[in-house]
Symmetry: C2
Subunit: 490 residues, 2 copies
Amino acid sequence: MKLKVTDVDLAAGGAFIVILGENDAIDLDLKSGDRVLVKHGTKEVVCIVNISENGNKIKTGRIGVFEEVLDKLNIKHNATVDVSLAAKPESVKHIRRKLFGHTLADYEFKHIVDDITNDRLTDVEKTYFVSACFTNGLTVQETVDLTKAIVASGDRLKFSKVTLDKHCIGGIPGNRTTMVVIPIIAALGFTIPKTSSRAITSPAGTADTMECLAKVEMPEEKIKQVVKKTKACIVHGGAMNLAPADDKLIKVRHPLSLDPLGMMLASVMGKKYSVSANHVLIDIPVGKTAKVTSKKEGLRLKKLFKLLGKKLGMNVDVILTDGRQPIGNGIGPYLESIDVMSVLKNDPLAPQDLHKKSVYLATQLLMMMGMTKQKAWMSVHRVLDSCEAHTKMLDIIKAQGKQKKLEPAKFTHVIKSKRSGKVREIDNHIIAKAARIAGAPEDKTAGLFLHKKIGMKTLKGDPLYTLYAINKPKLQLAIDFVKENNGYLF
Amino acid sequence: MKLKVTDVDLAAGGAFIVILGENDAIDLDLKSGDRVLVKHGTKEVVCIVNISENGNKIKTGRIGVFEEVLDKLNIKHNATVDVSLAAKPESVKHIRRKLFGHTLADYEFKHIVDDITNDRLTDVEKTYFVSACFTNGLTVQETVDLTKAIVASGDRLKFSKVTLDKHCIGGIPGNRTTMVVIPIIAALGFTIPKTSSRAITSPAGTADTMECLAKVEMPEEKIKQVVKKTKACIVHGGAMNLAPADDKLIKVRHPLSLDPLGMMLASVMGKKYSVSANHVLIDIPVGKTAKVTSKKEGLRLKKLFKLLGKKLGMNVDVILTDGRQPIGNGIGPYLESIDVMSVLKNDPLAPQDLHKKSVYLATQLLMMMGMTKQKAWMSVHRVLDSCEAHTKMLDIIKAQGKQKKLEPAKFTHVIKSKRSGKVREIDNHIIAKAARIAGAPEDKTAGLFLHKKIGMKTLKGDPLYTLYAINKPKLQLAIDFVKENNGYLF
């Protein structure tokens, strides 16, 4: 069927979408969510159909076209395109099979991931896939196949024959060990290119915090230059084409905060595999308000990560760490970056928990390279004490592109203890949410600064933490939020 | 945040959708799929956010608004609205619980169904609900609760203290027993208001076939008049507000053709409950290419239907019938309506299988009312032989509004047997698809007419069926489709 293009002047954020009038939809036997092949000259693209039920905009004989489709076909308003029914992608059958409880083969995951990468699946279909993986679970082999498929969907960067990496499964506010460990390891001569994420539901991701110091968005070529120069980088992985299918799956996981185990594993290992890392240390914080709430669950995860690493030909080690409270004092990009730099500079006021945990992680990574515990520990301390790690961080910042120095947020409010005693628990969720309500991570200098940690003695009226915001209303929102429950238990 | 309205001149088909520019979305900490409360004066509505990533259409400070939202708030282009973050509906938590394998309580189903009815859930969230019900299943009590919630979401029609109904779970082309059984039962003085569906993936639904003879779309008041006058009706239930949540769930079940057992039961029983039927006969055809492929599966379904009926205070009986081949000769709305009227008119050429099955169903329904088998059988034959049932059908047609007589489709092609022998099997799927490709149900007179049924002797070259289409291209598409496999096995 020949239809004339109406430029609806909307973008879908990646997906190829067209809008048909009701009459044309009936003639083509189409429902919303069905697919059509849209052709113009030699170019063609499979699009998902929306149906306009009122005839105002999309009249019979016309087709409403989103930006992405216009670009792909290189056409403009009033162009004529040929529209025909496109079959449902084969992968919908595989998703259906998974939903019915079957185990999928490698080629089926490849099909599914390929169709996700190329926006051939609707949100509803992707949701069924996530849901099927969640409720029916993935076997280890399925997780391997999904990981490989996800990696194959994007580019794979090659750096050095020996490439290290570290990863934390997240959930602990302020936990910016990456930005301390990377310069330590690089200062010791190892290659450790780190791609990090931005915050999704937390007050800061490593990419957000690093961005207070250096540029984190750059093309793959530039990353290669940075790593060549400094042996390391700390950049944002999301904008790169490393595992596009993973990013698209995360979008449909988000509305229900679903984290199907197999998918989480595939997502983490996929990102490591795509930077060709072959020695990977994984940090699993365990605590009442962490992502992993029991040691048992942590050990199970550890086993799975190691097994998956083996199947992917990667040397993987996993450590369970203390996840009972935030790490460092600052929560929010700018305040966290201050913590990181103070540890690297051996500032006597630097947060000791961030220092200790970073040293521990770096030592473990070196031990994975065959060093004895003692030698590893001494090496880490040498580059920290001599400020070689600090110099390395400055090199990395310079290579990535230094940012203008930020000024602390102007509006602050001290949250005081309502009682005396010893801090027994700190709720990661409350602290994270308070920082977010104050404006982090969008307002880089917003967040909070902890004065008390677990085990510290506190008198009634002592400051627990200071809230930072860039304007009064946001500060007030955060104050209101912690009024009932400030996250501290005595 | 105050934003100025841009009328994007699009309709979403029910859902409330607004589009924000990227900058405003960041300021409000919103992602695609999040919800906002949009206020204008005293009116407000919760909308789902799409984010426009290019600034062409939705500039900062503006909000793109779909038709449904404009109508709801009674506003126009350039109006100013107040936009604020809206919490996720409570029901998302219940869906999450179901996904985690928990059993839901009645109030949780009520929440979910209420939010679906009022378009407060996104497609992704609804998909998770369907998927959770599918993979984790629903207990009988959950099915009862879901059914009650679905019914409560719409209107409930009251007719007579004793109200009969029949339902077939579908899947058999041509199976138009409803249109024979309803006039028989009504002619015997019982009240039997029937709401039917249109075809979704079949070549005709009862509503499509009835529409060749009478109007089937009418307001509830008019239906009440028809039933008062004739004790019966055969109308389209979809446009009525009987179980709107069910219709919305079906939309997300469609892309993967998912039929979660509990949802199917809730859907069927919900429709019966909403017309206050208290004696319901359910027909489950069993056959290799039917929906239910084994007697065992049929018996399990029977048990569930009866149990559910009991819990809902309805007298339910279930019969398993022969689903090995189409019923009647005509497939497609017009051709099926000819079959129905020929049975009611005692035409000697009327399809005997449709006659026999209808008599059987009507007899069973009467037995549910306490009649002996013999008396029921004789009553049915009396009103058929005396043409009282035929007269009743004409009364119903007149009361609903008679349609102009249709002319048979002009383009026909006879599919001939490629071999001699006795017909052993007929594939319901192939026959249904061939009729659909020929144009049914949109082209009312398109479809096919069967000359041979299972058990009939056939010589090579004998006609198996005739295809009907309203133009040559559609006829050719159908011919091409059955070239390889005409659906007959000898």
